[in-house]
């Protein structure tokens, strides 16, 4: 990026400590079951596990064979079986089937279930119901946090979003609280905690209780401040197309656990390769936060530099050549490979995006964000649906329309829903029902037009009745008074100003200068004001549950006070991370993002389809 980091930017704490801790714990757990054993792993735990241990670690602790949990009869012949799973009832039921089948066959083995990050009572109830309680031992592996990079930590719990926000099940609140507690005991004590959202509040409470119950050793804080934020505070941002390199790579190739698989179209060979994408990759590290339009320029400049570096070897004598080979060549080669890889990836992104009218799509999104030419947007979406262009993409646009417009007019809602069902199948009735429940895609109720009125009135009259009135309405309308928020926080820069993406002036650059992500803007404002004072209107529009608490008195203005842990409950996008990195550079902070999972529009919406459960 063009601007250099502030010199006094504080150092990030070493998060790899988290990996070492969970690795040791896993080894301990495996040793609780001495002797050779086969290990069954939940498929969604495989990548996270890969980040902290490898096969030889497992083999060293007498794991014989590894299998994926597939909800089918097993073929293992080992007399000890260990299951490493997420606490899900259906998986436990399958294990009960395995045990009962063994019993019926007169086969005796030892079984152990290791639940991660914790066990649930409901899972143990299944063991009891199925008559295998006691035949199976259980344990917990407190694998709460996986550092994906030096400033990103993931709980790797994508189901957090659906369970908490759609089903209203608070089973993960304690988990989030424990994760925070772990960070607090390793890198705390925290001096300030800010937050917004119901789940954030509950997480804070859970964390606080755990701190009270545990003993706190006095130590030197490495992380000073914490910000908790619920995903449903801002649905607009994750519904937008990502145009920053890392986000774009995630939208197109899907980054899984910090690793991406580039297919033959990128590798230009017949095989795919998996690449870790993090700050260790020097080329990636320089372009990850860049708007895609800058990436080409950067890559070609890089290529030229590389050429120059290689050219140096011409005219070298033997001694010089020797030094060159031993000192520089390896680095250059590494860079060369990475460079070719990212060039090919960019090329592939360009091809894909030009094919699907990406430009028109972006234009529609920008219009929706601006509240401009809504009719045209609707007919664009309609056409998208009629032509059966990607089911998720159509849904995304519909939700973006609803969230920014505070619901669809009844006539539009009826017609778009009918067309959607005709194009993508009637079973999406269930999807629509989920989206309505979550407030992502709703029909404007006749009463709701009042909320617009009422928000104007609210500015004029500021007495208690107005507040009461507001509460009544906001519970009805639930979320998003996006237009009012956007105005209040200046989320959409004036369109007559030039926006130079090469020299971004604010976080809007991550959306081509069209929109500052609401989530990050709130964080910025609260940090700047050291609390919520002056943001009353904003929190009211978001529907509250904000808090700011001071804990341990910060001894001095130490560096730790400028390290801010932002915890997204329900997932965050790479674009938001990029925006926070930008903010950090501008203000001399460093952000560490903790998220229940990395999300994007597709993941968010796929979680709400009704094809699982």
């Amino acid at each position: 990026m063009a601007h250099s980091a502030r010199r006094d930017s504080p150092e990030l704490p070493d998060l790899s400590l988290l990996k070492r801790l969970v690795r040791d714990q896993l080894i301990y757990l495996l040793e609780q079951l001495p002797g050779k054993k086969d290990l069954f792993i939940d498929s969604d735990l495989m990548s996270p596990l890969d980040r902290i241990a490898n096969v030889s670690t497992l083999k060293q602790h007498e794991v014989d064979k590894l299998y994926k949990v597939e909800h089918k009869p097993i073929v293992s012949i080992s007399d000890q079986i260990c299951f490493l799973i997420r606490p899900r009832m259906q998986t436990v039921k399958w294990i009960c089937d395995v045990v009962n089948a063994d019993k019926a066959a007169g086969k005796f083995r030892r079984y152990k279930i290791i639940f991660t990050p914790q066990k649930f009572y409901a899972c143990e109830a299944v063991l009891e119901e199925q008559g295998v309680f006691g035949d199976v031992t259980t344990d917990e592996w407190a694998f709460y946090l996986l550092p994906l990079d030096e400033d990103i930590i993931s709980l790797e719990l994508p189901e957090f979003f659906r369970d908490n926000f759609l089903a209203g099940d608070q089973r993960w609140v304690r988990t989030a609280g424990s994760a925070l507690h772990l960070l607090h005991s390793l890198f705390g004590p925290f001096s300030k905690v800010y937050g917004i959202g119901r789940c954030s509040k509950m997480t804070y409470e859970s964390w606080r209780e755990q701190v009270e119950q545990g003993e706190q050793k006095a130590r030197h804080a490495e992380i000073g401040n914490v910000f908790l934020i619920d995903r449903d505070v801002d649905f607009v941002t994750p519904l937008c197309s990502q145009v920053v390199y890392e986000g774009l790579v995630d939208d197109i190739f899907r980054i899984k656990c910090g690793c991406v698989e580039f297919g033959p179209e990128v590798t230009s060979s017949d095989k795919s390769i998996k690449v870790m994408l993090n700050s260790q990759d020097k080329v990636f590290n320089e372009i990850r936060n860049e708007h895609f339009s800058n990436v080409f320029g950067f890559l070609s400049q890089k290529a030229r530099n590389l050429q120059t570096a290689y050219d140096k070897r011409r005219g070298m004598d033997i001694q010089q050549m020797k030094t060159f080979v031993s000192e520089e060549l390896k680095g250059l080669k590494q860079e060369h490979r990475l460079l070719s890889l990212h060039i090919s990836a960019s090329e592939s992104i360009m091809k894909k995006k030009t094919k699907q009218d990406f430009q028109e799509l972006l234009k529609t999104e920008h219009c929706l964000l601006e509240g401009f030419e809504i009719r045209e947007c609707i007919s664009f979406i309609e056409e998208h649906i009629n032509r059966q262009v990607s089911m998720i993409e159509s849904l995304r646009l519909l939700c973006l329309l609803s969230v920014t417009e505070n619901g669809l007019l009844p006539k539009d809602f009826k017609s778009l829903k009918a067309q959607y069902l005709q194009s993508y199948g009637a079973d999406h009735l269930l999807t629509f029902s989920n989206l309505r429940q979550l407030g992502l895609l709703v029909e404007q109720q006749p009463g709701e037009t009042l909320t617009v009125m009422e928000s104007k009135v609210g500015k004029l009259v500021n007495d208690r009745t107005a507040v009461k009135l507001t509460d009544a309405f906001s519970s009805l309308a639930k979320k998003s008074h996006f237009r009012a928020l956007s105005k209040k926080l200046n989320l959409v820069p004036k369109s007559d100003e030039e926006y130079d993406l090469r020299v971004p002036r604010d976080m809007a650059y991550i959306f081509s200068g069209a929109y500052i992500p609401l989530s990050c803007k709130i964080i910025e404002q609260v940090l700047e004001r050291d609390g919520w004072t002056g943001l009353e209107e904003v929190t009211r529009l978001i529907n509250g549950h904000e808090f700011a608490v001071t804990g341990a008195d910060p001894k001095s203005k130490s560096d730790a006070q400028r390290i801010i842990l932002v915890m997204f409950l329900g997932g965050c996008t790479f674009s938001e991370i990029s925006a926070l990195r930008f903010l950090g550079k501008e203000r001399g902070y460093k952000f560490i993002v903790v998220t229940t999972a990395i999300t994007n529009s597709s993941r968010l919406l796929e979680a709400l389809l009704d094809n699982n459960v």
Binding site: L66, A105, D169, S206, H336, K363, Q388, L429
Partner: protein, 473 residues
């Protein structure tokens, strides 16, 4: 977005967002290709031992030694074993005990057991009980007389509890309310499981009605535990009939046989859906009913090989359970000229039919779709869809330039027309449009893009030297 088409170029070229358009792709892409070439050509040095610092990866791209890789290997080696009968039959063999007990170990409890077991000489005697490992204090915990507060706290910490002592309704509800107050979903569900076992449905449902958080947990628990019947009862008892209806409707997914599925959908029609959902389910039913008829007839026709279209374009899949628009596309593809045609042709129909006929490269049908005669009998091309979109659909179905040209020419906005014409190499349209716009500069510029000595070049030269045109520049 018909109206704004004209502004589109403007938008991208003048607004703040212009810094980035994917339509500049051609230029960017070629620049990128250059860079790529440059990078690839750097130093033959690399070709030699290029593999060394890459991670070793297997054929599937998984790093060798990674857990995902190992699991896949295992799955592959087990493929044959996979086909063995579901759960293995009773074997008379006694399982051999794990022999190797070596290795570093923090706990030696199990070793002890093995010894005992071999001493007893009866491997089937499973002496180990996990509880043995628990410290004594934990044992005490289990029998202790915990208060409701303590019980909930222990649930939160994942420790063992006994709930049986909470027998009065009051005690049970106190427990539930405390769990809710603790915001711990695990504890809430734990109490609910106990209440479900020890309270009759009527009382449980009644009490849950005023406890929304607990209710949502209960609904989620029943959903995950697949207790459909109880869930339906609950929803009905709460008067949430619309949700109950959807839940019941959802069951159609578990019915594979199409006739049974159709009958099931029919039975759903009497359910109390909310809003328009009843109509949507009715449509779903009607659609499947039709699909069953079409599928039977077409399968027969295909087998008998009487219809040419089925041989030329074999069906890729059955039409059963496809969405309405897919079914429409299918019908426009295989049954276009059959007598039963819809009288009204909304935009949705038009779009789909156009795509289907274009896919078949039946340009006559395509052409006919746009024909309309005015009252004087002149034929004029009309479309409910913007011609830009039409071009797009045709081009995606690889229509020849000759066909494309006709529709590109019908795009009303000049700028847009030029853009499309350039993209699809319809030189005549570009040239004529510049001529009509009297834009000499652009025309001269375009001359560079056409082939040397071609008819197009000659045409441009003629125009440029034509004295009668009043060029604007």
């Amino acid at each position: 977005m018909m109206k704004s088409k004209a502004d589109e170029e403007d938008y991208w070229n003048s607004s703040k967002y212009n810094a980035f358009t994917f339509d500049d792709a051609d230029d960017e892409l070629s620049a990128l290709k250059e860079t790529k070439k440059a990078v690839n050509s750097i130093g033959p040095l690399l070709a030699e031992d290029g593999e060394e610092d890459w991670e070793r990866v297997s054929w599937s791209g998984e790093p060798v030694g990674s857990i995902s890789w190992s699991v896949k290997e295992m799955a592959a080696s087990n493929q044959r074993a996979d086909r063995e009968p579901a759960f293995p039959k009773i074997s008379t063999e006694t399982p051999s005990l794990g022999k190797s007990q070596s290795g570093i170990s923090l706990s030696s409890l199990f070793k002890g057991e093995t010894v005992i077991r071999s001493l007893l000489g009866d491997p089937s005697l499973r002496l180990y009980t996990p509880e043995l490992r628990k410290p004594k204090s934990e044992y005490k915990d289990l029998v202790s007389d915990w208060s409701a507060e303590e019980t909930v706290q222990r649930l939160q910490q994942g420790k063992g509890v006994t709930l049986e002592k909470f027998r009065s309704l009051q005690d049970k509800l106190l427990l539930l309310d405390l769990a809710v107050a603790a915001h711990d979903g695990n504890a809430i569900t734990a109490v609910l499981i106990y209440l479900k076992r020890t309270l009759c449905k009527e009382v449980l449902f009644r009490e849950l009605e005023s406890r929304q958080t607990a209710l949502r947990h209960f609904i989620h628990y029943l959903t995950e535990n697949r207790e459909q019947r109880l869930l339906l009862e609950l929803l009905r008892a709460l008067g949430r009939t619309e949700e109950a209806a959807l839940l019941q409707y959802k069951d159609y997914k578990n019915i594979a046989d199409e006739n049974k599925r159709r009958d099931f959908l029919k039975s759903c029609l009497s359910l109390q859906f909310g809003g328009e959902d009843g109509n949507h389910v009715q449509d779903h039913y009607t659609l499947l009913e039709r699909q069953i008829i079409i599928e039977a007839a077409d399968r027969k026709a295909e087998r008998e090989g009487k219809l040419e279209v089925f041989q030329k374009f074999p069906r890729k899949a059955s039409i059963l359970n496809m969405p309405l628009i897919t079914t429409l596309y299918y019908c426009c593809f295989y049954h276009y000229n059959e007598p039963e045609q819809p009288a009204q042709r909304p935009k949705q129909y038009f779009t789909t039919a156009l795509a289907a006929r274009a896919k078949l490269k039946n340009w006559t049908d395509v052409d006919a779709m746009f024909n309309s005669r005015n009252w004087l009998g002149f034929s004029k091309k009309k479309s409910p869809l913007s011609f830009q979109r039409v071009v797009d659909i045709l081009q995606k179905n690889s229509a020849p330039t000759r066909v494309l040209q006709e529709y590109v020419g019908l795009v009303s906005d000049a700028e847009l027309r030029i853009g499309l014409a350039q993209k699809h190499k319809c030189h005549d349209i570009v040239i004529n449009t510049y001529r009509d716009m009297k834009d000499r500069q652009q025309l001269a510029e375009y001359r560079k893009k056409v082939e040397r000595g071609s008819a197009e070049e000659r045409k441009i030269d003629e125009l440029l030297s034509n004295q009668q045109i009043r060029w604007k520049n």
